[in-house]
């Protein structure tokens, strides 16, 4: 059993009369990289700010290593935040910025100096000590912000959309570096983002936040391949979503008919006839095949796009009102409007019960 | 929690005390004074009256008010006529040049206004620099009357208040997106049409800001009408000054002041209506 470092217990946050966070409970383990992922306005930043103490909790408790810190001011909380735009003090040098928190904690100068030096070399900024933030690039500023947070030797670092102001290439580099750093320091990183790629690449676990509650919590793999709700399926990656009704059941297989009229075989999970199901299929799991077999239909390719690594297209079928999103990794060329057989493999269908609306 | 509250009270106190003691109470007291009777010896009788307000509508005072307003409006109008082309022409220059040129507008304004007004006496009087120069060039036979009249007052007012118009107008003009102007050109608007349809609407709040900062002082700057008007011409400023210092009819002076305050508030209302921000007033 891993050690819980931060526990949120039925935490709620109310602005005026509206709940932004409703009854949220979450255990965060020591040394993990946890990402709070969700669309803007879902409350993920509020959760982070409640952990840092910059936002007061309306109801519920927050524990740090078993100690109730709900009412502890951010000034005294042993967690640090990397802000969205880094919030480096523009009137202080790199050194002074990193030193700021140590100065506040009255860490003896000789110890402070050593820690600052270590932090600076850890983020590879040796030689930049005397520069001002305005003389640094975006990536360098990011490193200073990280150094300023980790120099405090606290167990938890909170990162608020910390990479989103960087350009794409730099972002990719920093993702890798951030992950490496976290592994090396064995610190707990709590990362907030709306960028699913970022979340999938870096996290040990992802908490999908929607409307102030946790929609799903799990490893990137679980979240991607086994979405538990329609929201998660839709938010993470691309999906084809079908509404279907169970028509016939055998021992291992249930036969369902989708709203569009596709008859599909799916794994049976004690379904009854007339059960309403929601089926989710990732575009890369759909196959283009040569001959008809089970779960195979004919369709017409439209909007074919080839980007070197993979080919994206849509396949119209049935009464041609609906198109499937299909992603292929093979290098075979398809023309728009060509007729193909497409197969939806039984194993690749994720099924949600009818409780999903 | 208690210490926090105490700290908050201590740091809040100065601004509260200041605004009550040095703004609210003086103004309320003037309001109070304006409803009192004055005796013939410059004292105050504690008796309610509306007389002071009725007196403002006496033809002598109405004339002074009108005159001040006309001088104020003319000053404002001339300042606008200078500031618009000045700001627009300045946009041709590079940004560093523009910043320098705007600083240069402010420097004379930061020196003593009386000293500068005095400089105008040296320039404008009968035996002054302008007249001697003109006559030595044989352009005039006898010296022109450039001061001790309305012309002198308006020159002085425009001179003293011009920076207050240039700064907000320039800041409004410089905020206009150059691409918008280009788009208008592209769509076939000539200079005048661009001015009317783009520059004016975009800079309205700035111009009104400047107008407030020019017009309101212009009706009160008694020293300019004293010096360049030769003491013959009264504006509202002189009238109030006389009631307080010479005629010693404080209640009447107070009534005129209240009248000016109400008038000012009306102008501010309009300014806010057209989208002006209070914080930008008088911001230099």
């Amino acid at each position: 059993m891993e050690k819980v470092i931060i526990r949120l217990e039925n935490v709620s946050k109310k602005y005026d009369k509206d709940y932004v966070i409703k009854n949220l409970s979450l255990d965060i383990y020591d040394g993990e990289f946890l990402t709070l992922l969700g669309p803007s306005g879902c409350g993920k930043t509020t959760v982070l700010r409640m952990i840092s103490g910059l936002e007061a909790v309306t109801e519920g408790k927050i524990y740090l290593e078993g100690e109730d810190i709900t009412d502890v001011s951010p000034i005294y909380r042993a967690v640090n935040t990397i802000f969205q735009n880094f919030a480096l003090f523009p009137h202080m040098t790199v050194w002074d910025n990193i030193n700021f928190g140590l100065k506040m904690k009255k860490v003896p100068v000789d110890i402070a100096q050593k820690r600052i030096k270590d932090a600076i070399s850890l983020v590879k900024l040796d030689g930049y000590e005397k520069r001002y933030p305005s003389e640094l690039s975006g990536g360098e500023q990011q490193r200073v912000a990280i150094a300023r947070g980790i120099v405090m030797n606290h167990k938890v670092l909170l990162l608020d959309e910390s990479l989103c102001s960087l350009d794409l290439k730099l972002k990719r580099e920093m993702q890798v570096e951030l992950k490496k750093l976290q592994k090396k320091l064995k610190m707990t990183f709590i990362y907030v983002t709306h960028d699913q790629d970022e979340a999938l690449t870096m996290s040990d676990r992802i908490a999908i936040i929607n409307n102030g509650t946790i929609e799903q919590l799990g490893s990137p793999r679980e979240i991607y391949h086994h979405p538990k709700t329609l929201f998660t399926a839709d938010f993470i990656g691309e999906s084809n979503i079908f509404k279907a009704v169970v028509k016939k059941v055998s021992k291992d297989i249930a036969y369902v008919v989708t709203k569009e009229g596709l008859l599909l075989e799916v794994d049976n999970n004690e379904y009854q006839i007339d059960d309403k199901l929601t089926l989710i299929v990732r575009p890369e799991n759909i196959q283009i095949v040569n001959k008809q077999s089970s779960n195979t239909y004919i369709g017409k390719i439209i909007n074919y796009i080839y980007d070197g690594a993979l080919a994206k297209m849509e396949v119209k079928f049935g009464d041609e009102k609906k198109a499937l999103k299909v992603t292929l990794f093979d290098d075979k060329n398809y023309e728009d409007d060509s007729q193909v057989y497409f197969k939806i493999p039984k194993e690749s269908i994720t099924i949600l019960g009818d409780n999903n609306e | 929690m208690n210490r926090k509250k105490a700290f908050q009270i201590i740091v809040t106190l100065p601004v509260v005390v200041y605004s009550l003691l040095l703004i609210l109470i003086p103004i309320v007291y003037v309001l109070f004074l304006s409803f009192l009777k004055s005796d013939s010896f410059g004292g105050i009788e504690y008796q309610f009256t509306l007389e002071n307000y009725l007196m403002i509508f006496d033809i002598i005072y109405i004339k002074i008010l009108l005159k001040s307003f006309i001088i104020g409006l003319l000053t404002t109008f001339i300042c606008i006529c200078i500031s618009y082309p000045f700001s627009i022409f300045l946009m041709d220059k590079s940004e560093t040049k523009r910043n320098l040129l705007i600083k240069l507008v402010m420097i004379p304004f930061l020196t003593n206004s009386l000293i500068r007004t005095y400089g105008w006496i040296v320039l404008l009087r009968k035996s002054g620099v302008v007249n001697t120069t003109l006559s030595s060039l044989n352009l005039i036979d006898k010296p022109l009357n450039l001061m001790y009249n309305n012309l002198g007052i308006i020159i002085g007012m425009v001179y003293t208040l011009l920076p207050f118009m240039i700064l907000p107008v320039y800041s409004a003009v410089s905020k206009i997106d150059a691409r918008v102007i280009d788009a208008a050109k592209d769509l076939g608007a000539n200079k005048i049409k661009r001015f009317i349809h783009i520059i004016v609407p975009e800079t309205l709040a700035g111009v009104f800001n400047g107008s407030l900062m020019v017009f309101i002082p212009a009706i009160g700057y008694f020293f300019i009408s004293d010096i360049l008007g030769g003491g013959k011409i009264m504006i509202v400023g002189n009238l109030i000054k006389n009631q307080f210092l010479t005629a010693r009819n404080w209640p009447f002076g107070a009534a005129i002041s209240i009248f000016l305050i109400v008038f000012t508030f009306l102008l501010i209302r309009i300014y806010k209506k057209i989208g002006g921000k209070l914080d930008e007033l008088g911001g230099l």
Partner: protein, 264 residues
Amino acid sequence: MEKKNKTLRNLFIILVYTFLYLPIVILVVFSFNASKMNIVFTHFTFEWYAKLFQNKDLLEAFRNTMIIAVVSTAVSTVIGTMSAVVLQKYDFKGKDLVNKLIYIPIVIPEIVLGIALLSVYTLFHLNLGMFTLILSHIAFSIPFVITSVRSTLTQLSPTYEQAAYDLGAGKIRTFFDVTLPLIMPGVISGGTLAFTLSLDDVVISYFTAGPGSNTLPLKIYSMIKTGITPDVNALSSLMLLVVIIVLVSITYIQSKSIQKRGKV
């Protein structure tokens, strides 16, 4: 066509600057003029500058003006900065009223503030003199400092302060180590404005000065009526020089620190 246009435009700009600087240049030129009449330039002399230092009245007025300006600027910069921060951060009863009141000295005619202060000083039996002058100058300077500081304060992202709290800095520590350095440009320009307004003020000083407390503008005002001697030109030129030096050095220091620290 385009070229001719450009010349005309530049000519207009030059004319405006001529208008703005002509009286000042004339004053400076005549401060070196041997003739006592400010009419024709006869020949160059430093006589008036020498005379200036024997004119006790003028020097005393100058001294008073400087004392008032320095004291009122110091007080109004401190109170004004504090007020701007307090008005942004805290809610208290009557805050709306205070927020409205502080605009009054900026918008109403100076003369109204002048007579209002005079009335209240009389009401409270305060003797007119240096004290009432300083108080009055503080009264009209504070709002300008507040608006100037407020404009930098509203542009300041709250994350700087949050970052400071997050790193363990208390409220007061955060203010002096983080907030104040970041709003310094606003504080400095507010202070500069207060200083120059104080040096320049005629109207409010006119009503709130006492018999023994002449300021330079008041002194010049009375001299203009009785007859001005060129030593006033000399003094004006010197003050002009002081203002320009102060302005240039402030601009220089600011641009240097901006260069170094980058935009706040």
